[in-house]
C-alpha cells in the first residue's frame, strides 16, 4: 500500500522532471546562435549547393525543417519532443538519418551501463571493507595511509586517470591490457578501473567516517555489554548501521559515475553514450543530443529510486513518502 503510493509518486516526479529537462534543453538548443545544419552534419555538398544554387538550397533546408518539425511554433515543438521522448519515439538524428536513434541507443546504452555499474560495484566491494579497516585501525599508520590515499583518489579526475592508464599500458608497457576499443572483457578493465578509483576512494572515506561514528554509539556499547563477540559487534551493529549512511552516497556517486563514463569513453574510444553525446552536442544534432541526455537522466533517476528503496530496507525508521 505505502510502497505502491510511494512508487506512483516517484514515477510522476520522474516524468515531470524529465519533461522539464527535455523541454528546457530543447529551448536552449533552439535559441542558440547559428544554424542547425553545419557541414559536419550534412557533409560538404551542402555548402557547395549554397553557393551554386541558393534557391534549391533554401528549398532543401525548408524540407529538412518541416521533416524535423523545426518550422512549427516553439511551444509545439517542445511539446512534441517531450511527448516523443516519453513514448520512446526518438526518430532519427540529423547526422545519421538512416538509422533510428533507438537502434543507436540499443548499442550504446548497454556499454555505458556496464562501465557505470561495474565501477559502482567495484567501489562498494573494495571501498566498504577498506573503510571498515581504516575505522577499526583508527589513528594508526594504516588509517592515515588509507585516508590520504582516498583523498588523492577522490581528487584525481577519472579522465586524467584514464589518460595515465593509457600512457602506462599503451606507451610504457604495451601489450598487457588493451587501451582502446570495445568488445572483449579485457577492454572493459581499464575504463572501469579509471571510473571506479574515485568512487572506491569516496566510499572508503565515507564508510570510514560513518563507521567511526557508529562505533562511538551507545548501542555498540550495549552490544558489547551483552557480551556479543567483537566481530559481530562490528558487522551486525556498527557496519549494519553505517551502511544506512553509505547507501545515501551511492545515488550521487552513481550520477557522477555516469557522467564520468561520458569522458572516459572518449579517451578509450568506446562507442557508448558518451561518444553519441560528444558528437551530437558540438554539432547541435538536436534529436541525438536530447535523446542521450534523456536516457542518461532516466538511468540516474532510476538509480536514485533504487537507492531510496534500499535505504528503506536498511533503516526501519525511514517511512516512504
Amino acid at each position: 500500500m505505502g510502497l505502491v503510493k510511494f512508487l506512483a509518486k516517484r514515477i510522476v516526479a520522474i516524468v515531470v522532471t524529465i519533461s522539464l529537462v527535455v523541454g528546457v534543453g530543447y529551448v536552449l538548443i533552439y535559441i542558440s546562435p547559428g544554424t542547425f545544419y553545419s557541414a559536419a552534419n550534412m557533409g560538404q555538398g551542402l555548402s557547395q549547393l549554397q553557393v551554386s544554387d541558393p534557391a534549391l538550397y533554401n528549398q532543401y533546408l525548408n524540407s529538412l525543417n518541416s521533416r524535423y518539425g523545426l518550422n512549427q511554433p516553439l511551444i509545439e515543438q517542445v511539446g512534441k519532443y517531450v511527448w516523443h521522448s516519453l513514448t520512446f519515439n526518438f526518430g532519427t538524428s540529423f547526422e545519421n538519418p538512416s538509422i533510428p536513434i533507438i537502434h543507436q541507443l540499443a548499442q550504446a546504452v548497454p556499454i555505458s551501463s556496464i562501465l557505470a555499474f561495474g565501477a559502482i560495484a567495484l567501489a562498494v566491494v573494495l571501498g566498504v571493507p577498506l573503510g571498515v579497516l581504516a575505522a577499526l585501525k583508527r589513528n594508526t599508520w594504516l588509517d592515515s595511509a588509507l585516508t590520504t590515499l582516498s583523498m588523492v583518489g577522490q581528487a584525481i579526475p577519472s579522465f586524467v586517470l584514464a589518460v595515465l592508464l593509457v600512457l602506462f599500458f599503451g606507451v610504457w608497457f604495451p601489450g598487457i591490457l588493451p587501451v582502446n576499443g570495445w568488445g572483449t572483457v579485457g577492454e572493459a578493465v581499464l575504463p572501469i578501473v579509471a571510473l571506479s578509483a574515485g568512487n572506491v576512494a569516496a566510499v572508503t572515506r565515507y564508510t570510514r567516517g560513518s563507521m567511526v561514528e557508529a562505533l562511538r554509539q551507545d548501542y555498540v556499547r550495549t552490544a558489547e555489554a551483552k557480551g556479543v563477540p567483537w566481530r559481530r559487534v562490528v558487522l551486525r551493529h556498527a557496519l549494519r548501521n553505517s551502511l544506512v549512511a553509505v547507501v545515501t552516497v551511492i545515488g550521487p556517486t552513481f550520477a557522477f559515475t555516469i557522467i564520468s563514463t561520458l569522458w572516459v569513453e572518449q579517451i578509450f574510444t568506446i562507442p557508448g553514450l558518451g561518444t553519441l553525446l560528444a558528437q551530437a552536442f558540438p554539432n547541435k544534432d538536436v534529436p541525438m543530443a536530447i535523446t542521450s541526455i534523456y536516457v542518461l537522466c532516466l538511468l540516474v533517476m532510476g538509480m536514485n529510486l533504487l537507492v531510496d528503496l534500499l535505504y528503506r530496507v536498511l533503516d526501519p525508521r525511514v517511512k516512504l513518502q
Partner: protein
C-alpha cells in the same frame, strides 16, 4: 573480605584529550556483596560512570585504565583478555544505560536484540532463546510479547525501551546488574515503574545491583549501601541508614542540603559553592578543598585516604569527626528553629 561479589581497589582511569590528560578516576575502591544494592552517587564528572565502565572494559574513546584491581568471582577483570571479558559481560554482569533510545540498535528488532546476548553465551538454543525472550518481555512488563518481539526501538515509548534494555541485561540471569542512571531520561512516574521492576527482578534472580545515580531520593529509597564520589575518588561509603543519619563528609552533607524535594523549606537549602572541575593532574590534595567550609591547610596539602569512621562507614576527610559533630549540632539547631 572474601565473600564480596565484586571488589574494586585503587582504580585509576585516565582520558587523553587534545589539551592534556583528564584524570577521571583516581584510586576509587568499593565492593559489592552478593544480593545487595550499591548506590554510587555524585555529580557529572565525578567519575561514577567511568569507574564502573572501567571495570567491565567499556571505557570508550581515548580512555584507559591505568591501575587497580577489580576482583569479580575470583578473577581480576582488569587483567582479562577481551574474549574472557566478553564471556563475563552479559552472562555474569548485565548492564543498562541512561538513554534507552540511543542504547538500542535502531535497525534491529527488539526481540533479536534480547536474544542476541543469550545466543552469544550459548545460554540456550535458538528456540529456547525465543521462548525465554517472550517470557522476559512478560516479566519486564511489555505486553503482547509476540507482537512486540518484532518491533523496532523507535516504535516503543521511553519507558518501554528501558524495559527492553532491562530484559536484555537480565536475560542470562547475571550475578551483577550495573544500572548507569537508568531513570534519568524518564519522567518521574515512569522512573518509579522502572525502579520497582528492578527490585522485583533482583528478588527473583538474587542478583546484586550497582545503581549509578545523581538522585539522592532514588539512592536512599532503593539502595542498601551508598558511596559518594567526587573528582574520581570515593568520598564516603556507608550503609543507607548511616548515610541518612550520620553523613560525615562535608561534600555529602552539602549535596544532601542541595536536595530539593516536596516539603523542602527555603531556609533548609544551602548551596555548595563553586562547581566540580575535571582534574587535569593527579590530585595532590583533597579535591574538594576549594569548595569546603571545613578546609584547613592540611586539606590543601595532603590527599585524605578513605578510612573507617565506624563499622561499615568509610570517609575520605581529614576532619570527618569534627564535621560529624558539627553537623549533629546544626541538625539540632535546625530542628529547634523549625519548632519555633
Amino acid at each position: 573480605m572474601a565473600d564480596e561479589l565484586l571488589c574494586v581497589e585503587d582504580l585509576h582511569t585516565e582520558f587523553w584529550r587534545g589539551d592534556g590528560t583528564v584524570y577521571a578516576v583516581n584510586g576509587a575502591s568499593f565492593s559489592v556483596a552478593p544480593g545487595e544494592t550499591l548506590g554510587i552517587v555524585g555529580e557529572s564528572g565525578s567519575g561514577k560512570s567511568v569507574s564502573v565502565l572501567s571495570i567491565v572494559g567499556l571505557v570508550r574513546g581515548n580512555g584507559q585504565v591505568t591501575g587497580g584491581t577489580a576482583k569479580f568471582m575470583g578473577k581480576d577483570l582488569l587483567k582479562l583478555r577481551r574474549r574472557q571479558l566478553e564471556d563475563i559481560r552479559g552472562r555474569d554482569i548485565g548492564m543498562i544505560f541512561q538513554d534507552p533510545m540511543s542504547s538500542l540498535n535502531p535497525t534491529m528488532r527488539i526481540g533479536d536484540q534480547i536474544m542476541e546476548g543469550m545466543l552469544s553465551h550459548q545460554y540456550t538454543n535458538r528456540k529456547g532463546a525465543f521462548n525465554r525472550t517472550l517470557q522476559l518481555l512478560d516479566e519486564v512488563g511489555i505486553p503482547e510479547g509476540r507482537a512486540r518481539f518484532r518491533s523496532y526501538p523507535h516504535e516503543f515509548s521511553g519507558g518501554m525501551r528501558q524495559r527492553a534494555m532491562i530484559a536484555m541485561a537480565v536475560a542470562c540471569e547475571p550475578q551483577l546488574l550495573i544500572a548507569d542512571e537508568p531513570t534519568t531520561a524518564l519522567d518521574v512516574t515512569v522512573q518509579t515503574q522502572i525502579l520497582v521492576l528492578l527490585q522485583e527482578l533482583q528478588q527473583k534472580q538474587r542478583m546484586s545491583i550497582v545503581l549509578i545515580t545523581h538522585d539522592f531520593g532514588v539512592a536512599t529509597n532503593v539502595c542498601d549501601r551508598i558511596i559518594v564520589m567526587y573528582a574520581g575518588k570515593v568520598m564516603e561509603s556507608a550503609s543507607v541508614a548511616e548515610f541518612i543519619a550520620r553523613p560525615a563528609h562535608p561534600y555529602t552533607i552539602g549535596l544532601k542540603r542541595s536536595v530539593i524535594e516536596v516539603g523542602t523549606q527555603a531556609h533548609q537549602l544551602k548551596a555548595v559553592p563553586g562547581v566540580a572541575t575535571t582534574l587535569m593532574a593527579p590530585p595532590h590534595n583533597c579535591p574538594f578543598a576549594d569548595r569546603c567550609q571545613f578546609v584547613t591547610d592540611r586539606c590543601r596539602a595532603e590527599v585524605p585516604e578513605l578510612r573507617p569512621l565506624s563499622e561499615g562507614h568509610y570517609v575520605a576527610c581529614h576532619r570527618a569527626e569534627e564535621v560529624l559533630a558539627e553537623a549533629g549540632a546544626t541538625a539540632v539547631e535546625g530542628a529547634t528553629a523549625d519548632v519555633r
